[in-house]
Symmetry: C2
Subunit: 155 residues, 2 copies
């Protein structure tokens, strides 16, 4: 029986996790999405060891997720800004947040609410189908081999 | 200046990652969402060490994400099914997949496509605002302290 190759090397989930699945990396990204751009502020907010933060920032820059930008000349100071590629990680990040809000928050409610400036209301980010616009129910979705699937034989 | 407490202990992203941010855990979940329910099949598909898989399944059951269900009496055999809480992780999982498809896939395209049985088309899961229905642009969202925020003083 043929089946798409879901192995680590050919799975977009595994590949994405390899880039940002480390817990500190994702917390650094969270800071970036909250508008925190400077090393010192990230370090203070996260209580992260300086060498760990340096390492995670370096990898995020290497992967094109953050850009290291000079913002002051004397002395030289850099800040970290999300690239377009990095901005694309907003979806995964708030999807993780939403689930935590629903299942792991304190009884008084979630620590954050997301205010949608476009419509002026607090919102729940919702996963919808690009084709019909309906909210996605996982039981109604079937994964099929895509163009990049490597079919292989399975006993 | 007051600011919401974004520390690890009061952040839904950090809490969610503590439960499922481990790479093997997320790959086990991927299998579960693809309909794989049995230890042997997961082990074979993932090429994961048996003791690691046992450990991750145990934790997922403990956290109420998977349920261990008897499906055969003699000999006793169990399978692992997603609970409602577990089904809620579909959003984070396909959000991660989507980003990988866009940024890390092979030139020929993504390894999987998602077929929406409800509308009969292949789709891109899209993050929209629950209030106005528009696609979410991270630059238009502001995080505000929620009911569970613990305000604290910051120098």
């Amino acid at each position: 029986m043929e089946r798409a190759d879901y192995s680590d090397t050919n799975c977009s989930v595994a590949r994405t996790l390899a880039v940002m699945g480390d817990r500190w990396t994702m917390l650094v990204l969270r800071e970036a999405f909250f508008g925190v751009r400077r090393f010192e502020a990230m370090q203070r907010n996260l209580g992260i060891a300086r060498n760990v933060l340096t390492d995670r920032l370096h990898k995020l820059v290497e992967n094109g997720i953050l850009a290291r930008v000079l913002y002051q000349d004397r002395p030289e100071r850099h800040e970290y800004r999300l690239t377009e590629k990095g901005l694309g990680l907003y979806g995964p990040l708030i999807a993780l947040m939403r689930w935590g809000d629903e299942h792991l928050a304190e009884p008084e409610g979630p620590p954050l609410v997301l205010h949608h400036e476009r419509c002026g209301r607090d919102m729940a980010p919702t996963l919808t189908c690009s084709e019909c616009g309906e909210t996605i129910d996982p039981r109604e979705v079937r994964p099929l081999p895509g163009p990049g699937a490597r079919a292989h034989t399975r006993a």
